[in-house]
Assembly symmetry: C2
Homo-oligomer: 352 residues x 2
């Protein structure tokens, strides 16, 4: 008992309403120039028909190209983590291009707050219709969000979230739960009398991500009455020498550390230290599928890596913008990625 087909589209609406397709078009795009009466009639018919516009024809006919921006950290010597989201963004771009969508990518140095702010200015100058952004610096991102709101421009956060803002969508990990998983893996075969070491290596002090992860990590210990003592250390320099110096000191003070948890992708630096100091019996867990980390996974120095599908994050983030701007379909506000566990045995199939 389908009431569809026979004739469809704008033409059919126009026929039923006794108007021209142009008038229907005006209603569909709520432009001016239609009397309230006919507008109501047409809207009723649209609703009754459950009219779905043909995106093919729409995109073909419209010469207006939709342009999206993506603002993410550059790949640096320190880490090639952001190569993965970039690849996902490019994948999305390739899919969308044929539908008249253009993507422009803006990069910034993760250690340079000003570069971030400047790229934001460039983005606004570009007059884009939507933007994907890694909200790496909190204050700057807040200003950015305010300006977006003023311009009614949708923006999507990936990799980390700033919850109060009105982003179209957040796509990334649930950091707290991610730390929780880390604790589970770390303690899975750990003897009760061994200590656990949490290591945070980061130049930035206001690290919201880190706090969430550690919070989740500790929550696991509480929930499961895990007996192990937790030691923690913050290291504010990222070079190997500094890290090694700090770690030497910590391991000197605590002879019975059985496992270490690094709260970000710099786990390879710790792995290097453990290897060099012949401490590979210490279980080691950290974040992200970057090539240095995978190397230590292969060597059995790193036991597990926790990953959040950065490639997919980039892809889905762009697609969320596409959904709203082109398809005009609703988008999930919170989009938590799976917490993937990568080991020596399964990494070759991992799709970052």
């Amino acid at each position: 008992m389908e009431k569809e087909n026979e004739l469809f589209g704008v033409k059919e609406i126009a026929r039923r309403a006794n108007v021209s397709t142009a008038t229907v078009d005006r209603v569909l795009h709520n432009r001016t120039g239609v009397s309230e009466k006919t507008k109501a009639k047409i809207n009723a018919i649209i609703k009754e028909m459950d009219y779905q516009p043909n995106i093919l024809a729409s995109r073909l006919a419209s010469k207006k190209i939709i342009s999206l921006a993506a603002l993410i950290p550059d790949v640096s010597e320190e880490t090639d983590f952001w190569a993965a989201p970039l690849a996902g963004i490019r994948r999305a771009e390739a899919e969308m291009r044929q539908y008249g969508v253009q993507v422009q990518i803006f990069l910034f140095d993760l250690n340079d707050k000003d570069a971030f702010a400047e790229q934001i200015r460039h983005v606004f100058e570009g007059g884009f219709h939507g933007i994907l952004i890694s909200p790496s610096f909190i204050e700057e991102t807040k200003k950015f969000a305010a300006e977006c709101a003023r311009r009614k421009m949708p923006y999507v956060f990936i990799d980390s979230d700033i919850p109060d803002l009105h982003s179209l969508s957040y796509i990334g990990p649930h950091l707290r739960k991610s730390g929780y998983v880390g604790a589970k893996l770390l303690t899975y075969r750990l003897e009760a009398e061994k200590k656990v070491l949490i290591i945070n290596i980061s130049k930035e002090i206001d690290n919201f991500n880190y706090l969430e992860i550690e919070d989740g990590f500790r929550a696991y210990f509480n929930d499961n009455n895990q007996p192990n003592e937790i030691v923690r250390i913050d290291i504010r320099e990222t070079d190997y020498q500094s890290v090694a110096r700090h770690l030497t000191y910590v391991f000197h003070l605590n002879k019975d550390i059985g496992a270490a948890f690094v709260t970000n992708s710099r786990v390879h630096t710790v792995a290097s230290f453990l290897k060099n100091s012949h401490r590979t019996h210490v279980s080691l867990i950290g974040y992200d599928f970057v090539k240095e980390n995978v190397g230590y996974l292969e060597n059995n120095v790193i036991d597990f890596l926790i990953c959040h599908r950065p490639d997919d994050q980039g892809y889905r983030g762009m697609m969320a913008l596409y959904q709203t701007l082109v398809v005009n379909a609703p988008v999930t506000k919170q989009n938590y990625m799976p917490i993937d566990i990568v080991t020596k045995e399964n990494y070759e199939f991992y799709q970052n």
Copy 2:
């Protein structure tokens, strides 16, 4: 130095070749009615321009609707595993529908070889342009593949592969490696003197999948000189009573089983047995994110589940057909899914 733009598409090719768009069209779809000379000329221009057809316009202009079939097992009382690939297929369908692609789904009972064969007949009667199939029965699938070859109809395998056949693509797990990962997880905290039990619960005897998994499982033990003794059991009935009977016997004979590995999604039956017989100290690993299994994951009876993103398999399988038939783009022949590790702590974010 881009040589693109200005004018593009079929019209530009026609202009350069001094022919009409109709002739260009004939060449593009290698239809008859073009002399070798002009054909060569047009092809040269196409190559030079790196011409990419506008799929929007193509699909819009072509009234020919492409229809795809999917042949997968029905959701049964035994398992709702196939709900996930089905969801992925429907997701793909929703995306493709607006581009003029229709999808029809054929289901069969996993325990009924004849139903499988009959549905294959239905598929061929339907005159589809491509098909996604779960090759559950080997002999029937071989006949199917031969008929597809005769009709030049592309087919994609998901979830399990039959390597010799010329499928357009295989999308599913690398079973051997998957067993390998299972062994790693199972032995990760296992004491050396404990035995390991491999359990295969399946009515079908010719279980190619099972053999691959067990092979990988044992390979891990070899590669790592794992000291544990391996015990194995085949159970040909799938109901709880039968499984419990067999397991009672095995556990009676082997007092020191420390871990059990179930080679398919029926791990929940084993979990039920372990729980009822107060043997939850035995580590348990099995396959698939089905709701019964997740329940035992929550209860700490199952330690890990290994999953292969069945939803994605369905989605990608359909998309592979779409790529060849609509976009006319190449498709990867082997498409191994990640080997995901699901635990009590991360299952809530798992995207099956």
